[in-house]
Symmetry: C2
Subunit: 552 residues, 2 copies
Amino acid sequence: MRVLVLAMLIPALAQAWYYGRPEPNAWTTGGVWPLPWTINYFTGNHSVNPSRFRFQAKQAGCDIIDKAIARYQKLSFPGYNASTYAGDAGTLTSVQIDVTSGCPTGVPSLSMDETYTVSITTPNGIGIIQAKEVWGALRAMETFSHLVYLPKDNVYMVRTANITDGPRFPWRGVMIDSSRHFLPISTLLQNLDVMAQNKMNVFHWHLVDSEAFPYPSLKYPDLTSKGAYSPKHQYSVADVKKVIDYARLRGIRVVAEFDTPGHTGAWGYGIPNLTPKCYQSNGKAGMLPNILDPTVNSTFDFLSGFFAEALALFPDEYMHFGGDEVIDDMNECWYNNPEVRSRMQQLGFGSDTGKLLNYYWARLFDIIDKARAGTKKLVWQEVLDQNVPQQQSIAHVWKGATIQEAYEEMGKVTANGHFAILSSCWYMNYIKYGADWGYVNEDAMRARGMYYQCDPQGFHGTKEQKNLVLGGEAAIWGEFVDGTNLINRLWPRASAVAERLWSDPSQTQSADNAWPRLHEFKCRLIHRGFRMQPVMDPDYCPYEWQDGYQEI
Amino acid sequence: MRVLVLAMLIPALAQAWYYGRPEPNAWTTGGVWPLPWTINYFTGNHSVNPSRFRFQAKQAGCDIIDKAIARYQKLSFPGYNASTYAGDAGTLTSVQIDVTSGCPTGVPSLSMDETYTVSITTPNGIGIIQAKEVWGALRAMETFSHLVYLPKDNVYMVRTANITDGPRFPWRGVMIDSSRHFLPISTLLQNLDVMAQNKMNVFHWHLVDSEAFPYPSLKYPDLTSKGAYSPKHQYSVADVKKVIDYARLRGIRVVAEFDTPGHTGAWGYGIPNLTPKCYQSNGKAGMLPNILDPTVNSTFDFLSGFFAEALALFPDEYMHFGGDEVIDDMNECWYNNPEVRSRMQQLGFGSDTGKLLNYYWARLFDIIDKARAGTKKLVWQEVLDQNVPQQQSIAHVWKGATIQEAYEEMGKVTANGHFAILSSCWYMNYIKYGADWGYVNEDAMRARGMYYQCDPQGFHGTKEQKNLVLGGEAAIWGEFVDGTNLINRLWPRASAVAERLWSDPSQTQSADNAWPRLHEFKCRLIHRGFRMQPVMDPDYCPYEWQDGYQEI
């Protein structure tokens, strides 16, 4: 058995293609996305007959493993049709799954162990997956499914390889905004499947915002009935539980965001006196109410009830409390509002809205701690930039329009001792023409793009600072995204983020080298039935998207 | 019966919404897109029961009308379910369709008459559609379907209105590129349906290009078998005929483009000596072969055979012969190629590649005239910019990155006496963040965008020049578009182009006024099952896209 070096998997771009583009058929066979930390391919591959091949769990009776086996029995062999399959008997007959620890009773957490090994060797018809926890086994099964390829019609082959792998960062997320446009549950579930296939593990659910409140509060039904766009634009509690469980089975955490005190316009429709009116400095009507009123106790009474309910529904140890973009509202709706300002003075804050904001956060976090002790608090970075009491909050960094600016923000936040999660580089809603996952179209056509290049630990800082970086999130805000375009706008562009957050950075510096592997991965997901858009000039897949259009 | 002015259909934006955005529910009820030239709404609307309502053709037995009736019986009542419908009996029981002329035997042409009237009045339970030709009746049925709305669940209502309408321009097209990425036939058919619902009437099919040759030549099978990406990435003749007939039934012409002499890289794989090698000025290998060789007779022999076949397959009087972007190839593959240059000299052109290019066009157009006399020739503008013999060719204007530059190109082309079709403003493949159908995101957030504003007759010129403008085309080049994202990337952005090419410009100057009507239209198409992406900040529809995702 001869060990092939990784580089041999990546085909050289054999000739110049038009305008320096990669060739349309530049793809790997049996490449893995995101790139494992150690992968050794061998010569001599196995054939697999999907009708005979089986995953076998050494430890029986764990729903997470059992359901994953059912999924990967399908996902590993896209296009398989038992009635037409004409392959041979298959020289790989099974993959054994060996998990050391037991079956988790709850949802995955930040400390879940996702490391694993996969061994598919030449003479042996039985592959081996080993993992400490089920979460590693899930990642391993995904990796195994990438080793399978179709060199020609109807013969599934699997690359022989030894793989030792685990994530670089524990927090690898996608943020989705279900407020600006309502997103059907089926779109969220589909996205969870694509996330799992990218080994991403946090669904950050930006549930509500200024425009709409689709989150279902049973305790405050008016919040939903008056805050949602319409009765058709609301989730049920069963919907939310379905998302959490669907995510759990795929090793994905659901971190809910309830953004306060700003971005709360839609909260105010159902709760009296929650969001005060706003005024321009000349006293005329200003922007629409969009910030909570911390000068009345009824606000905190409401928040106590609201978050007790929300923290009981979302089991993750972490919750996101927002806190972004409040300056204009603090001015128009607190400072310029005579009643709020009068109460500010009675509370002893004079006319200092900053003090009122600090007061808000201190009281909110007290409420959270009482509602569910130990809750970890994630906030958009400016909450911590403003020196609000930290209480071990995690800074979600979103500022910085360039990689350099993003790095400066990461440096600042970690220098202040905060844990950090990076999103600045990865606002996937900001679309532009071109292969923006890895390149930008400048005069030099192949300049490096932000998504694949940006590194959460790329900033200048001490080792201690770097250790405060938990990972990052691709964010797709909802102004121009709904169920019609979320999947194919986000993917496979966000796959660049997935690789940056999972893989060894020293092995994943080059978008040119990554493309053939990303290309195979994108084609694999198309073949599995996911709407992956083209992201790299002319290309094609062995199996193209089936439109399924019913002629009228 | 009281006549309401049009303005009453357009709801005032009742209050400031966040950041000056339109309200998410700013939509019309029974608005028509694109806007008819004359539309008078009346008070008192009809209810309609889809199970009883019928279109009735006065002239029986025309397939175009009969099949349109079957379509619009469905399209007019999206979401209708006979088993659950709980509406009343319906006070509008039928719409009569009265076409003066007979049933056309062939495909639609540039001179087809698309004018029509629709009359839906209050006391009368029978609506009237009148048109000179069936093409006008198709447009009228689409218009009628826009008058239908659902004020609440399960009661279809139809606005009472009198409409007199017809297109501003006879050429209202969408250009689609099936070379850079292969597009399944079902995607093309779906797009034809969306085009028809936008009253667009030309499908410009950019079939082949440098990268791939999916067009099926039976006479030169190697052209397809070697030029297509793979056997899966080819059309059959039956596919092409299906597209042409599907388009015919919707009043849409299919204008095929075979782009020569440049952009022909994929032609060269199957035909020996067709595309000569290219060299840098230092004699080293240059770009990939991508231009035909006009110095050998075999090229013209091939073109004679090729176009005889293509002109027999595509019945439209017009064909597009390309001609764009040849300068670099003329230099590298003609001038720098010693063999080509030697033959140029033998032909008496010295080293003047411009003369060779003129020679190419003269011979090609002779071939076309012999293959099918009377064929009208469309070319990208530079063919005519270069003073190639016109032979009544039509200039397809694509240059100009701003409206002003596009206008300058239109002025120049028409000053030279050429007919013109505009696409410069409407390269829909160039995506950017924001509501680009009607606005651009500048510091002032609601600056006017190119698509809705750009007018094919907006240039400075004489009346005679303006009369040379046939219309325009929205173009979506295929570098980053395939079956996964064509429909929702193109639409409803291209609906802005549809209105500009159909409607009275004096009534359609304001994107602000257009939005509520476009919003209703977009929601209507979503309800009909078409994947229309959000194009205007936060919004929602009465009926959202149904994802249909099968959980795995």
